[in-house]
Amino acid sequence: MNSFSKRSYIVIGIFLITALVFSLRLFNLQVLDPTYKVFATNNVLREVVQYPARGLIYDRNGTLLVHNKPAYDLLVTPREVTAFDTLYLCEMLGITREEIEAGLQAANKYSRYKPSVIVQQIPPEVYAVLQERIYRFKGFHTQSRTLREYTYPVAAHVLGYVGEVNANDIQEDRYYSQGDYIGVSGIERSYENGLRGSKGVKKYLVDVHNRIQGSFLGGEEDIPAQIGKNLTTSIDIDLQLYAEKLLQNKKGSVVALEPATGEILALVSAPVYDPGMLVGRVRASNYSMLVTDTLKPLFNRALMADYPPGSTFKMLNALIALEEQAITSNTYFPCYGVASSPIRCTHDHVSPLHVVEAIRESCNPFLWNTFRSIFSKFSSSSEGYEVWREHVLQFGIGRKLEIDLPIESKGSLPEVSYYDRIYGKGRWNALTVRSLAIGQGELGLTPLQLANYCAAIANRGHYYTPHVVREMEDESIPEKFKTKNFTGISENYFELVIEGMEQAVNGSTGMLKIPGVSMCGKTGTAENPHGSDHSVFMAFAPKDNPKIAISVYIENGVWGARYAAPIASLVIEKYLNDTISGNRGWVEERMMEANLLNPNQPK
């Protein structure tokens, strides 16, 4: 029977070969091949993003304007969901059954294993109830986020709003991922990088059911979220509130800035809206309501609307002519006879008159002659126009001012080529473009540009780039906001136009007289082919050492002195004196009560 005992070696051989093959395989798997170690880490690691709170926003006096309130998202992991009381959940959250079902379906489509957001931005009071009962809803959990909350219902166009990132944002900056929030407009957008802080990551160990079992390496590799940086804006919230109140039931804008720094004190685009409308779950419906509103409340007129400057442009033409020595302080033009054509004077005044009087009287013939004399200093009209245009550009007109808000219009200031195209090269002259002499025609200034131009006059020849943020935590404001931009016009010429502006205010109706303050200003009427003309006013005060420069546009306000000027005087008075003097109460009342939403106002 033992004749086959040698076969025991074959059997033992099979055992040994198997053991050898297994050992080699195990050596390869465990020692040589690193991939399984990576897979193992991926298996157990779950990175949970920590969302930082956005930075707070203050006004120039330290009043809190924007802060954060907690909100909660409800997330669902479809695989873990068991039958639940849909109706109860819907009632608790105040949503419809269809919404829940659509959300579940979308989540299912995205991933059965990964959580996706099903209900967003649940307010804290609802969350408190939900959190107590969440155990009844298997597969659901919550995540906390922060939402913006506004102390005052104003300054929406400056502050902007926060929304969810879109595909474009994600592509442009890898910091963002689906569902993150990003500043969409206003300061929230332009200072996004500071305000957002930086997201953190907490690494957790999870088991096969994706349940968190503890922190990874005792939290050694966690990256804490960094809270966003706080901002101090240059906005004076009291002034902003007051200006917005003055502009109720009107379309238009108010831009007030501090000439010595370029800091914007108030920026209003009317009609206004409450920035709180674009927060939370009501946002989508409010947004579509605002978008479809025919008064276009979302349109930031202060930065985007190109209005003709009207007579407010006359100081600039006078300054250019003085600088180019086309006129002197002693140059007189009559406003009758042949000199008064092609642009007539609209009212009676002394004649002939010099530059100070011309500005006081807003004399069209004087400005036309001034404009023409600039051109006649040069051999060709286009050369003259080019010189004139360069001066205008130096006031920040016809180009973007590079304010620290995401969008602004560059206004409208045609190039030589524009007129060459329309009239033919060499076939146009000062007469052809005479409307520019009185701030009409192709010219377009945004209210911000007008206010900035006013600040340049107030500063007697320079301006600081306007900006809405004074300082950001641990960061200095960009150098460009601290650099003087010179207009290239000699300081002494400014005194002449300022004199004219002061006399213009003093010679006007009593509505503009602020007790104890010498205001220099100029009214304007912007021609409007679609309805009543727009009322324009620019001013600064006090005359010496100015504290505030302002531009006011009131759409369909008929003429400058009617609405824009009184409103500007009230804003200046409020800013300088902190209160409106008793005898001007009636002005304030009349301005606030005026309703100019009808585009056709009586003359």
């Binding site: 005992s5 033992i12 297994f22 395989r25 050596f27 465990q30 170690k37």
Partner: protein, 475 residues
């Protein structure tokens, strides 16, 4: 050696290997069940490690009892034990409890067990008894028929319980028959056909044919009748392949690469066969015929599988072979199992520190996939020690079997060794992705009373037989 001194005649090496394996198994079950957040005493009998501790103590008691029973008992009662086990296997089919899709549990109140685990030692006893009976000759067809009946009856009953893995264990008995004189050709072809069947379904055609060709060339080289012929055969083959592939390329027949490869290999094989026959190269003729046969067999398996079987049957076979691509199904288990083992590194992550183990990424980790815990927490050092311990046990058993004077003891010893080996090879092979996923336990390691007791009985009957090897002359 003293005749009646049982305790000195016991092979303590085997007993120590048994105790080491059982203890290592328990440690890993403890780790597989262990959970950071809930701490229990190791004697907490609501936990698996607590229960396993009871099973282990009971196993020691069973082992002790077996050692006390006279050897004659096993010899005389082997058919009766076999009959009783077959009876319980039938009972399971009638009254069994279904767990995890297989109806393999008998429940008596709080106590339930798997009769299939006891089928192995019973079949080993019956087989040893029959093959050691007076006048037995393996070559007789009647002997083969009775052997087949003894082995296949429990396998068939277990297969009916839907426990395919445990049924396949009985195929290991072919090694016992081989030792007792079954022709090596049967073993060779049996293994070849089994491997070809599995690999035709698991591997891609091109890969399988590539492996077959290189193996054949290797054998040509080994059976070398002179380098001249070897290089000529290679030359013939290469020219045929180039010719055939070139024709296909020119004619743009658009046949699948697998078919083209099969065609060229078959054609080349025929040419080589004619060439070797003419030159009277006997070995080459045989090898070439086997090669051609292997290619035809795997083609027919593929054809039968895809054309004859319906999708339900295909799915069953896929499931059995573990080639389901469903990441939630069998593929998931193997993948997670390889991740757990592979992440262990050389020294492992340390006892109770395996993240994959602790957070239950591998399913069935305390039973069929217990080897993952070893791999992850003890690293290559641990798996190598465990593999070595097992192989040491198997070799020791073969050594013991060969020193038996009685045919009954030797055959039983071989049966025990190959059954352990089959479990070892399939279970560990499955966890490292080298074997299809068929759920059979790793002896002494996997959680479960029935399997531990079954293996203990299987082992200790042989230890008892070995301890009294001097008592009797061979039958």
């Amino acid at each position: 050696m003293a005749r009646n001194k049982l305790w000195t005649n016991i092979d303590w090496i085997t007993v120590i290997l048994f105790i080491l394996l059982v203890f290592a198994g328990w440690l890993n079950i403890y780790s597989a069940v262990y959970n950071d957040t809930e701490q229990h005493s190791i004697f907490d009998f609501s936990q698996r490690y607590g229960k396993q501790l009871i099973w282990i103590l009971a196993a020691f008691l069973i082992a002790f009892t077996i050692l006390l029973i006279e050897t004659n008992f096993y010899l005389f009662f082997s058919y009766i034990i076999y009959g009783l086990v077959i009876f319980t296997l039938v009972l399971v089919l009638l009254f069994g409890t279904e767990i995890n899709y297989s109806k393999s549990w008998l429940t008596f109140g709080w106590f339930s067990f798997q009769p299939a685990e006891f089928g192995k030692f019973a079949a080993a006893l019956a087989l040893a008894k029959f093959m050691s009976s007076f006048g037995f000759k393996l070559s007789r067809p009647k002997s083969i028929a009775i052997i087949s009946l003894i082995v296949l009856l429990p396998a068939f009953l277990i297969f009916l319980q839907n426990d395919t893995g445990s049924a396949l264990v009985y195929s290991a008995f072919i090694l016992v028959l081989y030792r007792e004189g079954l022709s090596g050709v049967v073993l060779f072809f049996g293994t070849l056909i089994a491997l070809l069947f599995i690999f035709s379904l698991v591997l891609s055609e091109v890969l399988l044919f590539g492996i077959l060709t290189s193996l054949t060339l290797l054998v040509y080289m080994i059976a070398n009748p002179g380098l001249k012929y070897f290089f000529r055969v290679i030359f013939i083959w290469v020219s045929v392949v180039i010719l055939f592939a070139g024709l296909n390329f020119l004619l743009k027949t658009g046949m699948e690469p697998g078919i083209i490869l099969a065609g060229t290999l078959l054609l080349g094989g025929v040419v080589v066969w004619i060439y070797s026959a003419r030159n009277k190269l006997k070995n080459y003729v045989t090898i070439t015929i086997i090669f051609i046969g292997a290619i035809l067999f795997s083609l027919s398996v593929d054809f039968t599988f895809s054309q004859v079987l319906n999708s339900y049957q295909q799915a069953r076979i896929h499931e059995l072979l573990g080639i389901e691509s469903d990441p939630l199904g069998v593929g998931y288990n193997v993948n997670q199992s390889k991740i757990a083992i592979g992440s262990g590194g050389f020294w492992g992550k340390g006892f109770l520190n395996g993240t994959q183990t602790k957070y239950k990424f591998v399913p069935e980790q305390s039973t069929d996939f217990i080897f993952c815990t070893v791999g992850e927490e003890w690293g290559f050092a641990g798996t190598f020690v465990v593999v070595s311990l097992f192989v040491a046990l198997f070799i020791r058993l073969i050594f013991l079997a060969e020193r038996q004077r009685s045919g009954f003891s030797r055959i039983y010893g071989y049966a025990a060794a190959v059954i352990f080996f089959f479990h070892f090879a399939v279970n560990i092979g499955m966890t490292i992705g080298m074997m299809p996923v068929i759920g059979i336990p790793l002896p002494f390691f996997s959680y479960g009373g029935s399997s531990l007791w079954g293996f203990t009985i299987l082992l200790f009957i042989f230890i008892r037989l070995d301890a009294s090897r001097l008592d009797y002359l061979s039958y």
